[in-house]
């Protein structure tokens, strides 16, 4: 978690039912590994990764969340300021697909900000598919977001999730470039250590303006 140079700091949250592979997607993306030995996420957890999109570096502060319905209320408080959202369901769990629209709606209701989202159907490696590709595509179209089927286990399309999301983030951030750089008080192209921490809520402002 070193503080290298980056152009933007963006808060991203990962949402979806319990057991769909949210933590595994993040571990694969951030630490390049898949672990059968992982624990259920209680509350939230977070990881940091710098994403290179063309000539820009986007520092992602990615928040992993507990999937069980009853944690939704308390984690929702902390969604604010999120600029990117990854909605995940499992291709082998029909319920998780049925519920993912609920997750999408709950975000649309709780935030007036326009966020960059992506829909992900995970566990592409399994033979026991219960949700067809076309269904995922249709849902993604309905909410106007990109869609990918992935396997955290086989590291398939995992980087693509973040590249796709990153492309959209970059376009929006650049459109609002002037505001962002004013808001975040960048100094010599780099956040100052203390200020950076103060600015964890700063992406909110960039978000509002998108």
């Amino acid at each position: 978690m070193s503080l290298g140079y980056y152009d933007w700091l963006v808060k991203v949250i990962v949402l979806g039912d319990s057991g769909v592979g949210k933590t595994n997607i993040l571990t694969q993306f951030c630490d390049s590994k898949f672990s059968q030995n992982y624990t259920a996420t209680i509350g939230v957890d977070f990881k940091i990764k710098i994403l290179n999109i063309q000539d820009k570096k986007i520092k992602l502060q990615i928040w992993d969340t507990a999937g069980q319905e009853r944690f939704r209320n308390i984690t929702q408080t902390y969604y604010k300021g999120a600029f990117g959202i990854i909605f995940v369901y499992s291709l082998i769990d029909r319920n998780s697909f049925n519920n993912v629209e609920g997750w999408i709606k709950s975000i649309l209701e709780s935030t007036t900000d326009e966020v960059c989202s992506i829909l992900v159907g995970n566990k592409l490696d399994s033979q026991d598919r219960r949700v067809q590709t076309a269904e995922g595509e249709k849902l993604a179209q309905k909410y106007n977001m990109p869609f990918l089927e992935t396997s955290a286990l086989e590291n398939k399309n995992i980087q693509d999730i973040f590249d796709r999301l990153g492309q959209n983030l970059k376009i929006r951030l650049e459109n609002e470039g002037q505001k962002v750089s004013n808001n975040t008080q960048r100094q010599s192209g780099q956040f100052k250590l203390n200020q950076e921490a103060n600015q964890t809520e700063q992406p909110t402002s960039s978000c509002n303006s998108c």
Binding site: A40, I42, V44, I74, Y78, L193, N194, A197, N198
Partner: protein, 373 residues
């Protein structure tokens, strides 16, 4: 202003040491005959020795953890033997013991092999059975497992193999992982308005590594009904009460940490949710968790806040040096440097540095409720 009042309150009642509503029933059933603590006698040890002998996999500690666990639990063999003898006698005539003695001895730690007998007494599970009998007309653990379908079984099974991945007992289909499923299913039936909440899997797993399924179930039942833990599992949103109370105590005992947390917007939600939901069973080395847990059984909720403060004590120095959101929070969330804690040192610090009575907690609780209105 609020802090000043709190200080006065803490000072005033500093030496007050009340027990957590401890009711002993003089007509309690005679205790089963005690043998000297023998790990082989308990189920989990049978399971564990099976696993060890079958596979000779990696080396684990007595509870099945592969990580390096601090086994320096008692000062020496002689102290341990004396303690075993004292607890044996105490368990045999538990109803005759004074609350003060029980408290003092529990604070020193119950010998491992006797926990299986001592915990049900400390938690007074007899009351739990009476209550279940009154409310649901069910008084046996097995009564809660007769259904064919359980509403929460899917979620429970999802979480079982994600419970202590570092522990051989919960990987794949072991006897203990089935125990874990059953106890959690029974609990979700026994307390239907709570059902199953993620995080309970860790607490329950930690208990069934020491005691049998039935006792674990009744202890949990008692935790929910008598120790008032239900609210946070029913709706984790109610943890704001815990955050509020702990926040005030951190201001009081660790003002520098408190300032840095606020400066960087590090909400207690981010790193203490897991502490409260799993009762520290994921944060502390398992031996130390058991020490804190049994003190909690005797002394009640203030133990939870004392333990949280003690963890902050150990993390304070490094945390204040980090002084930024990401690194600071990552450090507060990590358990690595807690793995090598000396259990006795931790307990001593927790009990001597944070001497406040339950009245302090009650007052903060009332303030929180008032603010909510």
């Amino acid at each position: 202003m609020r802090t000043t009042q709190l200080t006065q309150c803490i000072q005033k009642e500093e030496e007050e040491d009340e027990l957590f509503e401890f009711q002993f029933d003089n007509q309690s059933e005679p205790q089963q005959n005690l043998q000297t603590p023998d790990f082989q006698a308990t189920k989990q040890n049978e399971v564990h020795s099976q696993i060890s002998s079958q596979a000779q996999i990696e080396q684990t500690d007595q509870y099945g953890f592969k990580s390096k666990i601090n086994l320096k639990h008692y000062k020496d063999r002689k102290t341990l033997n004396a303690r075993v003898e004292k607890w044996r006698q105490m368990i045999n005539e538990f109803e005759k013991q004074t609350n003060q003695l029980i408290k003092e001895r529990t604070r020193k730690g119950i010998p491992d092999g006797l926990r299986i007998l001592a915990w049900p007494l400390l938690a007074n599970i007899k009351k739990a059975k009476e209550q279940a009998n009154t409310i649901q007309k069910l008084s046996q653990y097995s009564d809660f497992l007769t259904k064919e379908k359980f509403k929460f079984e899917h979620q429970i099974r999802l979480d079982v193999h994600r419970t202590f991945p570092d522990n051989v007992n919960f990987q794949d289909q072991t006897v203990l992982s089935e125990s874990l499923v059953n106890v959690l299913k029974a609990l979700s039936e026994a307390i239907p308005d709570m059902g199953y909440c993620q995080g309970l899997n860790f607490l329950t797993a930690a208990l069934i590594m020491v005691t049998n399924d039935e006792n674990a179930f009744w202890i949990l039942y008692r935790l929910m009904t008598h120790y008032n833990l239900t609210a946070k599992y029913k709706d984790p949103n109610s943890l704001y009460r815990e955050f509020y109370i702990l926040d005030n105590l951190i201001q009081q005992y660790h003002p520098i940490t408190s300032k840095i947390l606020k400066r960087h917007n590090i909400d207690l939600f981010y790193f203490t949710t897991e502490w409260f939901i799993t009762l520290f069973s994921t944060a502390l080395p398992i031996n130390l968790f058991y020490r804190v847990f049994e003190i909690f059984l005797v002394e009640g909720e203030k133990t939870i806040f004392r333990c949280a403060l003690a963890i902050i004590h150990y993390k304070e120095q490094k945390f204040t040096q980090l002084n930024d959101f990401e690194n600071g929070l990552q450090y507060l969330r990590s358990n690595e440097d807690l793995l090598n804690l000396d259990s006795n040192q931790f307990i001593n610090l927790m009990l001597s540095k944070y001497k406040f009575s339950k009245t302090v907690i009650q007052q903060l609780d009332q303030k929180y409720k008032k603010n909510q209105k």
